[in-house]
């Protein structure tokens, strides 16, 4: 019995089963402050029906697996995103949605929106477009599922390991740091 539990192969099998469950049950917390939020209702409802790919909405960060950042983030909303992200339970994934999260998009010279999302929280999948159509969103989810199945969507682990670096970037923007302590 002990031999079986410590066996490398059986650990691999357990990991495979876990990843299979994780990739086939994605509960999405849609952070809809940007214009991309308008693409979420058609993705979830009967026109494009994301639920057939096991993608479902979650009501609170505690229950969610995927944080969907739809569009631009101002410095003010970045605080809330960091807080929501840290409240989610591991393993957790982030999808950056639209050009704004990749490189600022049309707000590239705005004084108050962040340009690269992955400096502040780890992003597993980017969906480009302004705005991406629901087909592109579904393709992004499929890509995320593929990464989870291969065990490569490790943004949450990366965040834990490089917390200092992320904190440094976050503090550079959020000058008056009044966030509560980290609570895994």
């Amino acid at each position: 019995m002990n031999y079986v539990l410590n066996d490398r192969e059986s650990a691999k099998i357990v990991e495979f089963i876990k990843n299979f469950a994780r990739k086939n049950s994605l509960w999405v917390l849609a952070y809809g402050t940007g214009c991309g939020a308008i693409e979420i209702p058609p993705t979830m409802t009967s026109r494009y029906d994301a639920e057939r790919f096991s993608v479902r909405g979650a009501a609170t960060p505690r229950q969610a697996d995927v944080l969907l950042i739809t569009g631009y983030l101002s410095v003010k909303t970045l605080k809330r995103v960091i807080r929501s992200y840290e409240q989610m339970q591991d393993p957790k994934y982030v999808i950056g949605f639209g050009s704004c999260t990749i490189n600022g998009g049309m707000y590239w010279d705005s004084y108050n929106t962040i340009k690269q999302l992955d400096l502040y929280i780890p992003v597993d999948v980017y969906i480009n477009g302004c705005m991406p159509r629901p087909e592109a969103v579904l393709a992004g989810f499929a890509k995320l599922q593929e990464l989870i199945g291969r065990g490569q969507a490790n943004g949450w682990r990366h965040y834990k390991e490089n917390l200092e670096w992320y904190r440094q970037n976050q503090r550079k923007l959020i000058k008056n740091w009044k966030m509560p302590d980290y609570n895994w």
């Binding site: 049950s25 509960w27 229950q63 339970q89």
Partner: protein, 301 residues
Amino acid sequence: MTFWQTLGAVLLTILIAFISGLFYMGIRRKVIARIQNRYGPPLHQNFLDVMKLWSKESNIHHGIMQHLAPLWMIAMGVSTLLFIPIVYNSTFWANFTFKGDLILLLYLMVFGSLGFALGAGQTGNPNSAIGVTRGLSQMVGFEIPWVMALIAVMIQYKTTSLTDLVAWQQQHHTWIAFQQPFAFLAALLVIPAMFRYSPYDIVIAPSELASGPPSEFGGKYMGLMMSSGSIFMFAKLALIVDIFLGGATSWLWMIIKTLSLYMIPVLWSAINPRYRTEQAIWSLWRWPLIFAVLGLIIASV
């Protein structure tokens, strides 16, 4: 019955109730999806959800009451299930039924929700507090007609034993639903409120309260709640089947009857928006209560 036989029966009952409960929920999601002209998730989606929730690597809680809250739920679900005779005339599947089990069940079915309310209160989330107050007021709403309907049955057949009720129905080849139609109607109208499906989903209300009491429960706690929810759901359905729909002579009949009974709240919830709190309580205290009182009058004359 030896000890091992009892243990086997208990474990098998829980396992079958768990699996069928999760499948029922999957069927519900599929049915609602088809009504909304969607393809819908696969039937085994809820198993994957539970597996995923159990494989979460971090599970934080805000205190010992929240840590215990899902355990109250699962204790209620399992103990309710174990006092319900599943198969007629079978000593193996009779579980722990005894002469007064109907009265005990009335207490057991409330116990878990109250324990969970304590746990949800400890999370400190305002949505949880609102959800708990709503849930308790709704419980007052549906418990009154539900208990009155059961008391009507108890008075009419002069027994508080589920086994006796099932035996009476099986021997007379009829259902209490036909003998005592008003009590059955009251129970039927109360089922959506007991399952907290819309229009009675004022407690969970995802778009309004961010899922209410369980809003701070993630990971394994959520997984435990989904498992206990499926078991408790099957227990409630089996209870109503035993009382009103003549029990079952085999597991197959039990599955068929519970599933068809389950379709009533599912279809009702698929086409209904959400009540407000006072609407929910008044809708429960109007027709269900009138039917329950009529049932009581018929039973006592």
